[in-house]
Symmetry: C2
Subunit: 468 residues, 2 copies
């Protein structure tokens, strides 16, 4: 099929103003971090599931590969086309309707193109919480992409990953058939749970067009603690102690290293040390409750009954004070960006091995590259660290990264593997880690993944060269 014929056929399905090509399609062909760039035969914007199905059928008939796309905020290059210009991008952003909200069932049903922010807002209007917490990009990322990448964020230790927040899916399969799995049931044991195949598959098995999401009661009470701890092992023990004493109320448990704080103070206005003295490791933790409970007292008692290792701590129920502390955590990525580029990792290990990871990876890297800067922070409550490596002098970074990125990655991933961890905790594989995962994943598991791909997408039309 010639490109003009293809454009014409696609336009006949979605209307001509919903098909972009050439320059106007460029922004949909480069990823959020501008790390991956490609070109597309066309970027199409279907308005409903039927149109998605027709586009997929057309492409399947012509053996044209498809790249499903939501808000295009992926960090691993899963949502952009390859450079050869032979793929069609199917962007779901026009499908942004909240379909139904059932407050009694604590569910809502939404189209895949709804932004995370709009989903959260709609839930809130119905006095419910949709807990996925990617605050920085909530206005841009879309729920279909959140599902396809099994998004994480800050609330996972309490509410689970995106996978845990989905009850049902509608998916357009690689041959254009529509699977309607839009159930809103808490229990259903009638065969293989297929939705879990599509969740986290990064668009390689089909296009998610709608979903039924779980909602939760909105918390009324809130308390935040900022705790300076002697070292990460104390943070690990503190988390276990908090869980044992405060249980499900822990909604966040984040760790921040001194290096992160210094970068934030340098680059982000109106930020300052949480304590008079400087400390090497800070934990930010938040309790929330639907009951108007005295959570500050609970936090206070939990910190009191904890053993050694807390240097200083503050507790607040004041939202402004809490926001000042959270500002430190939320601006680490931005501060880093202003400082310059770095070699980024998104790893996870068992909670009990986080401090071992920090110690072992740090020692090994510093031996290999004396004088480097390690920026370690993140979702300690899930054993998930963002772990970024650069030179102290930002001007040396380009050369450093060019020469040593692979070796730095190797060191970090070897330590991760040694501690039974994952080289991609919440960002997925996409193009970025597609090759690397082959080194670290059991060949039998890779083979099983390929069998599943072959079973659902035998012609390999869905997002080829991503994940697998």
């Amino acid at each position: 099929m010639s490109p003009p014929d293809l454009i014409q056929s696609l336009s006949a399905i979605v209307s001509s103003d919903a098909v972009l090509t050439g320059v106007s399609s460029a922004k949909y062909c480069t990823d959020w971090r501008t790390r991956f760039s490609g070109t597309a035969l066309a970027v199409v914007f279907p308005g409903n599931t039927q149109q998605v199905a027709e586009v997929v059928k057309l492409c399947a008939a012509k053996q044209i590969a498809i790249v499903p796309q939501g808000g295009n905020t992926s960090l691993c290059g899963a949502s952009v086309p390859l450079p050869q210009g032979k793929q069609v991008v199917v962007n779901l952003s026009r499908m942004n309707k909240i379909l139904t909200i059932d407050p009694t069932n604590y569910t809502m049903s939404v189209e895949a193109g709804c932004t995370l922010a709009s989903v959260r807002e709609a839930a809130e209007k119905n006095d419910r919480l949709f807990p996925l917490g990617l605050t920085a990009i909530a206005a841009h990322c879309e729920i279909g992409g959140n599902i396809s990448t099994n998004a994480g964020g800050i609330g996972v230790l309490r509410y689970g990953n995106m996978r845990d927040l989905v009850l049902g899916l509608e998916v357009v399969l690689p041959d254009g058939r529509i699977w309607n799995g839009l159930r809103s049931l808490r229990k259903d044991n009638t065969g293989y749970d297929l939705k879990h195949l599509f969740i986290g598959a990064e668009g390689t098995l089909g296009i998610i067009t709608s979903a039924v999401l779980k909602l939760f009661p909105r918390p009324q009470a809130e308390a935040t603690a900022c705790v300076a701890v002697r070292d990460p092992s104390v943070a690990t023990e503190l988390l276990a102690h908090l869980r044992a004493t405060c249980g499900d109320k822990i909604s966040a448990f984040e760790i921040i290293s001194r290096t992160c704080l210094d970068l934030v103070f340098e680059h982000i206005p109106d930020t300052r040390e949480p304590f008079g003295d400087k400390h090497e490791w800070i934990v930010l933790t938040q309790l929330t409750d639907v009951l108007p409970a005295p959570l500050d007292t609970a936090l206070h008692e939990a910190l009191q009954t904890f053993g050694e290792g807390i240097i200083e701590s503050g507790i607040t129920t004041n939202k402004d004070q809490a926001e000042r502390w959270w500002k430190l955590r939320k601006n680490i990525s931005e501060a880093q960006k202003r400082e310059g580029i770095s070699i980024k990792h998104d790893i996870s290990v068992p909670l009990s091995r986080v401090s071992e990871f920090i110690s072992l990876a740090g020692t090994t890297l510093r031996e290999a590259y004396p004088g480097i800067r390690i920026v370690a922070f993140g979702h300690m409550g899930d054993g998930n660290l963002h772990y970024n490596v650069s030179m102290l002098d930002a001007s040396q970074n380009n050369a450093f990264i060019e020469r040593h990125e692979q070796e730095v990655n190797r060191i970090v991933y070897e330590v991760t593997a040694k501690l039974d961890g994952s080289i991609s905790a919440e960002h997925g594989l996409g193009q970025l880690k597609r090759d690397t995962i082959r080194v670290y994943k059991d060949p039998i598991e890779l083979e099983l993944m390929r069998s599943v791909k072959q079973a659902i997408d035998p012609l390999g039309m869905m997002n080829p060269c991503k994940v697998l």
Copy 2:
């Protein structure tokens, strides 16, 4: 391969005292409810994963089908061999070691043959909770079977189904290879999440040999309410109100109809009306908390601020009083069994449609069969009802069931389907509902299931004629 040769080869793998045939194998060939009976070439009891793998390899080479078996407490006939006597039962009960417990990571790693009771006990010894709540059969059912059937029970509304309690799996695949997916990570996005294929697959894709389970903090505070409500719709609204006011603390929300209560009073000693007056519908709900919180006060306020429809209620933090109420709920199945046989269903609908289900199914059934008895009770908090139908006069039941079972099933399942429900909420399909599901499930979904089966078990050696 002749049967004696097979026995010899199996004995060489697992030792001769771990291979049963003939009469001694009979109890492993009949299910818990004595509804499904078969015969096996042999029942083997491997002692470790390697032995399971070798047994599977041997059977695969000889094209002998395998029935994986745990405690054999399945309610749908998934865990017993077919009548033709051509299958080998692989019973995991000897593999009953608790492998590791990591209280800091809130995880434990166990062999598949551990009973649920032993897993709960080991967690408790480490001051942790494993929340799967199948109290009646916890001493018999095994964790591998719980995972393979995605077991439910009373705690699902708070802790999720078995699926939500599993972090990692080890599985012997249909060709005898071992997939080691024993991860204990809270976040891992490195490709398709294969464990979800095996969870709930009822042994049709492989044999689960070990698992990493999530643990939770042990609750310290507890309060129970017994609430007489005007009708099931009030119960639904009460649940939504309780969630909004007491949140995650709700650990159980069960409904019991008058018929259930009368059966319990008739057949179970030391049981009595929870209130002075008789009421048609009773809700039992429990709050628990890790903090020593005043949960009775919370329950009291929640009931106070609820609108119309509560007839009477009682709240207690006294364990004996709570146990007297729970005794009513826990003995319904036993009371029913003593009364006689019935046509049983295990359905779920969205929480907001439970009362519509009760009303519509009841009306339709009573029109078709005047004078029947409907025993409706169960996990209202998950939209999951056990819904059993029989004649008032137990002596007429055999004839009634023989003549009308299919039609009663049809009526119940049609109503379920109309309300977007599931015909098997927590018991699975097994042999019992294998044909029925084909009527109610989207053909595309069935085809996807078959594609997956074909991809993982191309020779159809794993538990054939179950589920699919």
